[in-house]
Symmetry: C2
Subunit: 347 residues, 2 copies
């Protein structure tokens, strides 16, 4: 059995759970490498993956005997099979943040479970700390992102549309990585005031603000980087806001390390923005891994203590409605006494 | 207030619900046209959309006074605000197939709701029947899909990779529609035996089976079409299976109409496959709309009665593990006495 499944079994033991139903596909991939629709049951004796005809062949190709996972086709399972899986289990864990209310009721009925127990995102929490292999994938994804940014910086010319630039970034990622980590944002001029803008047919002007937010995947693991390009001559107050965002973004890079409190870091940036009459309207950052947004969130609404080998973003932004926006973002790895910046494109 | 929101309010009245929490973003888009993260509250007096700073500007641009929707920034809401929304409501509906178990518990606590009631996918059920505007979007998406297929049929040459062909399809859709309805499948040779294949670097051979499953979006509404191309000379047994799939696919087109029972239609195909020692390993079809897969499912595991202006796929397939697969799929609109086939590429 692999290390991650072994970790899960030890967790279940320590929590007095005799079984668990894992349904979040990202958690299933994390634990087993399986990328298929289905459900992972950890029972007293076995690890079971239930899937359907569309995926059986693929799953068999992914797994080896070493994985110790039994694969079932959902169409071959009877009412009795389901009731037997967790027989003699007093407590069975489930993912309350992922399972819908109707599935929750269905599980109790279908598996005849005495006590279906919330597991408080224990797998997501474990996923926050990356091992060497995971760090390697993210480092590679960040490197490709830097290379893409260098390429695109030379590519952008006045008259091009946001869509055209986004398409060029996407093609670069499709060619050089395993695909996009999320829908690429290219937002120029007044469009950049929307933190979540979708590329439009707006053409880049001779003097313009261009906000690019992009990331790719390597073996499922994501990178995430934003840069705001001040193209040509922009008004002085745009530069002032750029400098304010950059100052705070770099301050965070200087201050984070193992045991930093995420709430305090986010508050530090928000306070400085407020001193200048602006607001931090979204989180300062988020974890990055198999999901583009995962724990921990770096925000003054929640509190996490950073640990070594967490990989998170640092992405303060200021947005002036209808005018422009500035966001600068790096993906970083937390270390014992600071951080390793994984995206290194010029700011 | 628009017709769809008015419909929802009437539904709530008839179900003795004094309010509802709508959380499925596709349902929110369907009802309000809003495309943003957030939550729609239908209270006794008001329609409320709660979102965050990233979307406020966009949401305001989408809505007009006629919509009668009040927009709140989540950061401005207090504990009291939440508790007031559903004050004096005895029963409040929620989407049990969409809301997680932990959100369910949070809603009860946060909104102080007496009775949070399952609504049995009533919005999804309403979405099954399309109005003229929705049909127009899907018809347009299907037309673009046909044009793309004609283009790609002439484009494919031996030596090209599956990825290359998929990329060409994707670019066509990005250029001519609002984007992909789902990840394009181009699966050739033995790869076509996986119903859910991801395009690889495998090159098209002189004599080959190529399965293409593709669809685009127009104003959010999807098209869905599969064709299996027998390229050059393929063995006789491949042709036999192709003919068996095609015969059944066309039989369905002939037989469906308003009041058809989906279980019986799927059983008809499965029976014919079984007579020939094959299996229908996935559903025969599914509804198409703002979601690429929506109700009704056409499968022998579930039972729906088709109604006029439902839009569904007809997509039987046979897969020989490790060798090849054949799937032929059209998007169709159910009519009073038959169906209108919306995708018309040659088979």
């Amino acid at each position: 059995m692999n290390q991650k499944m072994q970790w899960l079994r030890n967790q279940l033991l320590s929590l007095n759970l005799q079984g668990m139903i894992v349904t979040n596909p990202v958690n299933i991939r994390y634990l087993t490498n399986i990328q298929a629709e289905g459900i992972l049951l950890v029972t007293r004796k076995e690890n079971i993956f239930i899937t359907d005809g569309r995926y059986i062949e693929d799953v068999h190709n992914t797994l080896t005997l070493f994985d110790e996972i039994v694969v079932y086709d959902v169409r071959g399972l009877t009412k009795d099979d389901y009731e037997n899986f967790f027989m003699f289990c007093e407590n069975v864990g489930f993912e309350e943040d992922y399972v819908t209310y109707s599935k929750y009721k269905e599980y109790i009925r279908k598996y005849k479970i005495n006590n279906l127990v919330e597991t408080e995102n224990m797998i997501e929490k474990q996923r926050m700390i990356k091992d060497e292999e995971e760090i390697g994938y993210i480092r590679k994804a960040c490197q490709i992102t830097d290379e893409c940014f260098e390429y695109i910086s030379n590519y952008i010319k006045p008259g091009m549309t946001e869509k055209q630039i986004a398409k060029e970034i996407n093609e670069y990622f499709y060619k050089n990585s395993d695909g996009l980590a999320f829908e690429t944002i290219v937002a120029s001029g007044e469009n950049s005031s929307k933190p979540h803008a979708i590329p439009t047919d707006r053409q880049i002007q001779k003097d313009d603000v261009i906000l690019i937010d992009m990331g790719c995947r390597v073996n499922g693991y994501c990178s995430d980087m934003s840069r705001t390009i001040l193209f040509g001559q922009v008004p002085q107050y745009v530069k002032q806001i750029y400098d304010l965002v950059l100052k705070n973004q770099e301050q965070v890079l200087k201050e984070v390390k193992e045991n930093s409190n995420t709430k305090l870091i986010a508050k530090m940036v928000d306070n400085d923005f407020r001193l200048n009459n602006y607001d931090l309207i979204h989180a300062l950052g988020h974890g990055v891994g198999l999901d583009i947004h995962e724990d921990p969130v770096l925000s003054f609404n929640s509190e996490h203590i950073l640990k070594e080998n967490m990989i998170v973003t640092d992405e303060p932004g200021i947005y002036i409605a209808g005018q422009f926006g500035v966001r600068i973002e790096d993906t970083i790895r937390i270390t014992k006494d600071g951080c390793e910046v994984l995206t290194n494109s010029p700011k």
